[in-house]
Amino acid sequence: MSKANIYAIENPVTHQPGWIGSRVQEGSENTASPYATVGNIAVPNPRMSARSVNVFYDEKQAINNVSLDIGLNEVISMIGPSGCGKSTFLRCLNRMNDTIDICRVEGEITLQDENIYSKSMDAVLLRARVGMVFQKPNPFPKSIYDNIAYGPKIHGLARSRSELNEIVETSLAKAGLWDEVKDRLTKPGTGLSGGQQQRLCIARAIAVSPEVILMDEPCSALDPIATARVEELIDELRQNYTIAIVTHSMQQAARVSQRTAYFHLGNLVEVGETNDIFTNPKHPLTEAYITGRFG
């Protein structure tokens, strides 16, 4: 028995899995089969849908048979310890992993019933439909205006200057940044504060009208106030966009998402309503992670 019980003195026999005071360890008998995901992976109206996805870096398997639906206009958060594959999975959803030579993806991921890994799906087009916001705010070293206008420009979304201006304004407005930057659109985007930069990056993603927005730990470089504003923004964006967010902050997952998926060592251990995951997770690994008894 690799687990201890703080009540062992009182009664060493009647403890159950996920016991307070017991830390779940790798390979303990509590670990369920790595291939079975607890909870319902499917939703009635999926926007994106992954089935039996395996990801390899050379010979090393980073994602192990993950199936998961991302529902229309929902925020789904992916949590788990470092190296659990949540970011890798997120990056499969817009084929960002294509840029890594040694990365190989198996299985099927569909966007509106189109397989995004099929030959007919172009990665550039896919990334226009599935936008991405990164961990560190990474505005282009250009003006605020150019940051937003870049995407629409290369995709030819605006036919005239005035149309482009409109896209820039609405994108910034949707990101809640318009009032803050409307007087300095020609100033460099990198001159904004960290939180503003991240909202600028969100506005940049919105500008190409994506169907899904992926966020890879979008607040990990921000202070709590800026984090709160970004979280508020994510909640507002849910009306029009489907959002998948990877986060290290369980509180953030609890605050912004409707569904939560817990990843562990490349496996999708549990997925379910955020309410359930954070009050009463079913899988002992999830419980251990959420209550801070993991390591």
Binding site: Q16, I20, N280, P281, T291
Partner: protein, 249 residues
């Protein structure tokens, strides 16, 4: 320095070692409070059984110790919730501790009521009441004490089967209560002069019934804590079936 080296050697438990200690201290407090409440009920029962004013007074005097424990538990929970933001089972443990605290406080109140009943019945300037009139109270008290003790045990061990037993015991307790009332009724019909004492005794029986009810609530709370399913208003039969089939939660 000593605690540091322990923390290092002990790879189990919460990543914040302090958090486990806080939970442990809370659980210890609940255990202490449970013992105290049980003791109060037991002493109050004995005071009635033996007609001891001294015991009754000591119960009344100890009442504020339960209240102090209740406040201590409340404050600790408040602090832990604010500082640790617990999740899942940790959160349920804290919520349960919070509720158990208030149930035990109420059990203490009821014990206090029984002790005051003893003080009323065995007033120095009046004759002692008939033993037959009081016989229901020690019998029920014994049963209720067992329920309270078991419910606290079920909490400490997180043993839902023990908790289920307590919930099922509550039905027997209700039957005992009914039996006691019936025998009291018979007694009062025989001797209507004792009707005043009889009313007091009914109140005492009622208090014991309530204590049993609190023990049952504690047990249901324990089931919530372990399983994360709220069974506060579920029928005992269904609950028992689910727990025994292992399909709860």
């Amino acid at each position: 320095m000593n605690s540091k080296s322990t923390a290092r050697s002990n790879s189990e438990g919460h990543i914040f070692h302090r958090f486990d200690e806080e939970l442990q201290s809370l659980i210890k407090l609940v255990g202490e409070m449970g013992e105290l409440a049980t003791e109060q009920v037991r002493e109050a029962g004995k005071a009635i059984k033996k007609g001891s004013l001294e015991r009754a007074r000591s119960v009344v005097n100890r009442e504020n110790r339960i209240d102090q424990l209740d406040i201590a538990i409340d404050e600790e929970i408040h602090r832990v919730l604010a500082l640790r933001a617990p999740m899942a089972k940790d959160l349920r443990i804290l919520l349960t501790v919070n509720r158990i605290g208030s149930f035990l406080e109420r059990i203490g109140d009821q014990a206090n009521g029984i002790a005051e009943l003893a003080l009323f019945l065995f007033k120095e300037d009046s004759s002692d009441p008939d033993k037959r009139l009081l016989s229901g109270i020690p019998r029920m008290a014994k049963y209720v004490i067992a329920m309270v003790e078991m419910s606290i045990q079920s909490f400490k061990r997180m043993d839902i089967e023990l908790a289920l037993e307590v919930i099922e015991m509550d039905r027997d307790l209700n039957e005992q209560f009914d039996t006691s009332i019936r025998s009291l009724t018979t007694y009062v019909l025989e001797d209507p002069r004792r009707i005043g004492d009889a009313v007091q005794v009914v109140l005492g029986l009622r208090s014991l019934d309530r204590i049993g009810g609190h023990a049952k609530s504690i047990s249901r709370q324990v089931i919530f804590m372990v399983k994360g399913v709220n069974v506060r208003h579920q029928s005992v039969e269904i609950l028992a079936a689910e727990i025994r089939a292992g399909s709860l939660g």
